[in-house]
Every structure is written in C-alpha cells, then in structure tokens.
C-alpha cells in the first residue's frame, strides 16, 4: 500500500520535474528548428543565466528592492548573451557544415564554464527561490511547491511559445526560416535577425529554467551539464516537434523518477543517456519527428 503511494509520489515529482525539463528543452528545440543546430551549450547558457540572477539578486538586495526585480534583469541579460553568442560565433559559420557549428557549441561549454569559474568560482551558491521551500500534500503524496510552481511556469511558457509560433506573424517568420532558409530570405524575412531572436528567446527560457531549478539543486558551474541530459528529451521528442518535446520531457522526468525509485538515486543520471541510445538505434527521428527523404 505504502509502496503504491510512493510510486505515485515519485511519479508526481517526476512529471513536475519534467515540466521544468520541457522549459529547458524548448530553447534547444527553437534553436534547432530555426538553425538546424543542436546547441550543446544550452545548459551552460542556462547556468550562466542563473548566475546572472544570483548576482542581480544580491545587487537588488543591496539597493533595497524586491528580489523579483532581479528576474527580468537576469532574463534580459541572458537574452542579450544569447544574441551576442549567435552574432559572434554562429553567424560566421552560416553556410558551412553543421558539424562546425555544433562543435562550436561544444567548445562554448568550456569557454562559458571557465568564465563562470573565474567570475563566481566553482563554489555552490544558493540563489533565492522564486517560491518558498514548502511541501503540500496532494491526497497523501508530498509535493514540493517549488517544483509545482516550476511546472506551472514551465508549462505556461511552453503554451505561450506555441501560441506565438503558430498564431502570430513572428511565428510565421520563424517557421518559414525553419522550413527553408533560402526561401525565407527571399520572402524578405531577416533570417539572421530570426536566428538572433531565436537564440535570445532560447537563452531567456533557459535562464528561467535555471532560476527555477537552482533552489532544487543548488547553483554550481556544473549545473549546465543538465543540458546534456536534456538532449534525451529533444531526441526523444524528435528534435523539431514542440508537442513531442513536451511529452518527451514529462516522460523523461517520470522515467528518471522511476529509475530513482526502483534502482536508486545514482542510476537516475545515466537513464537519459540509455534512453538516447535506444531511441537512436530504434527510432532515430524520435517519437514525433519526421523522417526526411534524401535527395541525390
């Protein structure tokens, strides 16, 4: 009886965590959709954004302002960082092989992590949580309210991004770019501008995910490595499908929780990678991705 309750409780926690994973993954998916580049450094940008938040929270505290002020500040600065990285690192490689771009993002992990250590040291930091650490009970299952609100925010943002993407003119520009760069160009769409904007939005969503995650994990430069396990989410979701990503994120969150439940906490971290490997062998285009016909 208890065991069943525990499974329910863990499942709930897993699904809620999945909501935050979705928020982390959505940035990677957006960037991939627009530019065909999987940004390995997305998690690292998220980590840097969270440090921004941490620093701003100290600053506004000194100025006597509410720490909520630091949230938009952090989002904005991380967004600018994303745009800057796109402009400086990705733009020169436009038209060259995707491999180069991906390797640049891998290298970016080293650069950003090194800079973070230089600036903030690798000491664990504890930025303020947006929501107090508090446990509520849904039926009898304990739920961490930080996680719950993280899930709510993650999900709402996901919906918001979907609305923008599918119901607005900006969404049309982005989808056009995603579908065919050259043609988007010849529609008068500022393709590099779209890239920059995508990177900016991706960095901002990442930053938000980091802000939500930090009170749960504490903030260290290795927080960015979570971004690598989110690869599992986007591969499982099929790389360019938003709905797929959402479902995959929840699934991975839940699977992790179940792995933790049945095999022990230390198996959790390897689970996403096993999923990745299986997906790639069995269904490379993910659950919802489309298979491309190759032209010769």
């Amino acid at each position: 009886m208890n065991e069943l309750l525990y499974i329910v409780e863990d499942s709930l926690t897993g699904l809620l965590t999945g909501g935050i994973y979705a928020l982390m993954a959505v940035g990677m998916v957006l960037v991939f959709k627009a530019t065909r580049v999987v940004n390995f450094a997305h998690g690292t940008i998220m980590m840097v954004g969270t440090y921004f938040f941490f620093s701003f929270s100290l600053l506004v505290q000194q100025l006597g302002l509410s720490f909520w002020v630091s949230v938009p500040l952090a989002l904005l600065s991380t967004g600018l960082l994303g745009m800057f990285l796109e402009r400086v690192l990705m733009r020169p490689l436009l038209g060259q092989s995707v491999f180069s771009m991906i390797m640049v993002t891998v290298a970016l992990i080293s650069v950003l992590e090194g800079l973070t250590i230089l600036i903030w040291t690798s000491d664990a930091q504890y930025p303020p949580g947006l929501f107090p650490l508090q446990i509520s009970f849904i039926w009898e299952a304990a739920v961490n309210m930080q996680l719950f609100w993280g899930f709510v925010i993650g999900l709402s943002l996901f919906v918001l991004i979907s609305i923008v993407l599918f119901l607005t003119r900006i969404g049309v520009a982005l989808r056009a770019t995603a579908s065919d760069q050259a043609t988007a160009y010849s529609m008068g769409i500022n393709v590099p501008g779209v890239f920059g904007m995508t990177w900016m939005v991706a960095a901002m969503t990442g930053c938000l995910a980091g802000i939500l995650l930090a009170p749960l994990n504490s903030l260290t430069p290795s927080l960015g490595h979570l971004g690598l396990s989110v690869l599992a989410v986007i591969i499982l979701g099929g790389l360019d499908s938003l709905l797929g990503t959402l479902i995959a994120a929840l699934l991975i969150g839940w699977l992790e929780a179940m792995t933790g439940h049945f095999l022990g906490g230390d198996y959790r971290e390897v689970m996403p990678y096993i999923v990745v490997l299986l997906i790639i062998v069995i269904r490379p285009y993910g659950l919802f991705g489309s298979k491309e016909v190759e032209r010769i």
């Binding site: 926690t13 504490s218 933790g260």
Partner: protein, 405 residues
C-alpha cells in the same frame, strides 16, 4: 612579517616555481637539484567541486611556510613551496607531484589534494619515490604503515569518525539509520566499515542514498530518505554543497531525523551561509571534528599565534580561520614535528626516517589543535570530538569530550 615581506615571500616561492618550470625545459635535472632549502610540494583543489575548501585551505600552507621561515626555518634551512592547482582531478595532482619532483628531486614532503590522488600515487611512492606525503584525505586505508608506509593522516580516519558517530547513535538509542554519501572515493571510503559497525551495534541500516558530490537533485534523494524514516542520517563525502540542501529540504518535508556529518562538511562558514537562507533547519546538525574550532582558542596557544600572525599580515583576515585551513596547517605541523625529530636525531632527512620519526610522536602537545596531547598511531591521530551546530549563536558547540578511538 609585514605585508611587504609576505609579498616578497610569495615572489620567492611560487615565482620561483614558475621560473623553474620554464627553465626546466632547458637544463638537465641534475643541475636543478642542488637546493639549499627544504622543498615541499602541494596540490590543492583550487577549482572543481571542492574549490572552496582548496582556496580557503591554501593559505594554511602559505602561512605555514612564511611563519616557519620567519622563525628561522627548520634546522636552519628555509622552506620553499611548489603549489599547484589540481581541480580535484587525481591525475592532474599526480602530474603536479611528478613536476615538483622534477624540480626538486629531494622533495621533503608532499601535500595531496584527495583520497584519489593518495591512492594513485601510493604504488610509486612505495617503490620509487619514498616521500612523506600528507593530504586532505582521512581515508582509512592511508593510515596503514604496512601498505602505505609513506602516507599519513592528520587526524582520525573517516572510519574512526564513523565509529564515533555510530557509537553516539547507539548511545542515544538510535534504531534506524541511513547513510547518504557522494559517489566519489571520498564518499565511499568508510561505507563498508559503517555497515558492519552498525550491525555490531545493533542499529538497523534502513537506507543508503548515493548522490553526486555537487549539484545533486536533492529533492528526490530526500523523498527516498523520508520513506525510509530513519532516526539518524549519517552524511559523508561532501564539502560545501549537497549536505546543507539535504537537511533544509528534509526539514521542509517535515522530517525529524538527526543529521550527522564528518570533518569536511562541518564548516561554520557554510552552515552560517545556509542558515541565512533557510532559517534554523541546520540547528542540531552534528559531526566529528578532530580539532578545535578556531573561535575556541582560549586554551590553544597555537591558535592565538595564528590569530596574531594573520592580524599582522593579512588585511582581509576576518578573525576566523576555517576548519579546512586548520587541517592543512595540522598536516604541515605534523611534518614539521617529524622533521625536527629526525634532525635532532641527526639522521638524514628522507621519507623512511621522517615516517619513523612521525610514528614516534607520543603525547605531543599540538598547541591546542587537539584537545589533549596526542600520539601518532598507525600513521594517524585517532582523536576527535562531537560537535553540534547551533543556529542561535552560529557556532558548532562541543557535545562530547575528546574521544580517543
């Protein structure tokens, strides 16, 4: 030593190391070997997951060199240090070690940064280098003169700490126990012993939770612990991260268990920092420390001396030295003691003689680091005291007398 002279000292020690590193590309090793000083090498985890401990511990060795040289060195010779960052990567520490050796083949002592490094270097230390080596590690297998004749531990081993804590649990009538440890060599070191000891004491080990050393997903670990519902939770293998978050989250989950910890995770600075965020969740957190805390220096002349020296030489001195600093300092003090015994006996300074001298230390007055006079037994000093954190006055307060293992 004034600020000025401290600066000069730094130029002499580390600056020389850099110059030598560049120079050694050009000269055969023999030429560099003619040193007229004692050279000690050290790898410190200045980056990586335990960077804070490394960065705050490093002054322990720098101050040691400066203070010793100020008072005339050892046996009339001054000390030079070759300090390097290891990033808590055992192989980097090994490279640092060999580099120090290349620079000074007659290295008098080496300070290692981790359990991993100590195990990595042990075989070659035994067969080839034979250099007295201390470290940040209290790993149990290092305190064994027959297998690790050149390594020593500057306090009780992690096993000893576990022994003390488990005895405490048994005394308090604890029935249900859980271990939480990091998935590092550091974290896993005393676990097998702990299991066995708990069994002997009739305590049921209801759960073991393995986490990352930093950035662990605390929430899910705590959920598991909550279900196991232990009276006591013993955490090991952490320095600055994870353990405070686990306690805070567990309290938020309404858990009443008593949390216990070991040396590296008992720093006041960390406990204060967390308490400022989460209130009094850490109140009552308990653990074993071989030394006094620095604020307890009334009966510790060595601490008073450190206080005075730091006031004079370190403009950023906050009036408190962290436990990690004390650990590094104690490790060096033990080496210095061994050096003095060896030189007094007029024996050549080498690993074998130093280790023999170390083993001969009996009822030594450590100047207050340890509560009572201590002896080296099996290359370690098996003494410690149980402290508990008090959020009200922000101090770890003693909960037991000095315990001899």
């Amino acid at each position: 030593m004034t600020n000025r002279s401290r600066r000069d000292f730094l130029i002499k020690t580390t600056g020389a190391a850099g110059a030598a590193a560049l120079g050694s590309f050009g000269f055969p090793a023999i030429v560099q070997a003619q040193a007229k000083e004692w050279v000690i090498g050290a790898s410190l985890p200045l980056t990586g997951p335990f960077a804070t401990a490394g960065q705050l511990g490093m002054p322990g060795i720098i101050d040691f060199i400066a203070m010793t040289n100020d008072s005339g060195g050892i046996g009339g010779k001054k000390i030079r240090g070759i300090l390097e960052d290891s990033g808590y990567v055992a192989i980097k520490a090994l490279a640092n070690f060999k580099k120090a050796l290349a620079e000074a083949p007659d290295l008098a002592c080496y300070f290692g940064d981790s359990t991993g490094f100590m195990k990595l270097v042990a075989p070659e230390l035994n067969s080839r280098y034979k250099i007295m080596t201390g470290s940040t590690s209290f790993a149990s297998e290092l305190a064994n003169p027959s297998t690790n004749p050149y390594q020593y531990v500057s306090g009780p081993t992690y096993q000893d700490m576990f022994g003390i804590l488990l005895q405490h649990v048994a005394d308090k009538g604890g029935k249900r126990l859980a271990f939480v440890y990091s998935d590092t060599e550091f974290g896993k070191d005393p676990i097998a012993y702990g299991r066995q000891r708990a069994k002997e004491l009739g305590i049921e080990l209801v759960h073991e939770e393995i986490t990352k050393a930093s950035g662990a997903e605390v929430q899910s670990h705590v959920a598991q612990l909550r279900r196991a519902d232990p009276d006591f939770i013993l955490m090991h293998g952490y320095v600055t991260g994870v353990w405070p978050a686990i306690i805070a989250t567990a309290r938020a989950f309404g858990m009443k268990s008593q949390f216990l910890g070991t040396f590296w995770a008992m720093e006041k600075v960390i406990a204060d920092k967390i308490s400022a965020k989460v209130g009094d969740a850490l109140n009552g957190y308990m653990g074993v420390l071989p030394y006094r805390y620095f604020y307890d220096r009334k009966e510790a002349p060595a601490y008073q001396e450190l206080d005075a020296w730091n006031k004079a030489n370190n403009e950023k001195y906050p009036g408190y030295l962290v436990t990690w600093y004390l650990q590094v300092r104690m490790t060096m003090n033990l080496w210095k003691k061994a050096m003095e015994i060896t030189i007094e006996a007029d024996k050549p300074v080498n690993g074998d003689n130093l280790m023999t001298s170390l083993a001969s230390i009996k009822d030594w007055d450590s100047g207050g680091f340890f509560g009572n006079p201590v002896s080296v037994v099996s290359n370690k000093i098996p003494q410690g005291r149980v402290y508990a954190y008090n959020t009200e006055n922000k101090l770890f307060l003693p909960k037991s007398d000095w315990i001899q293992v």
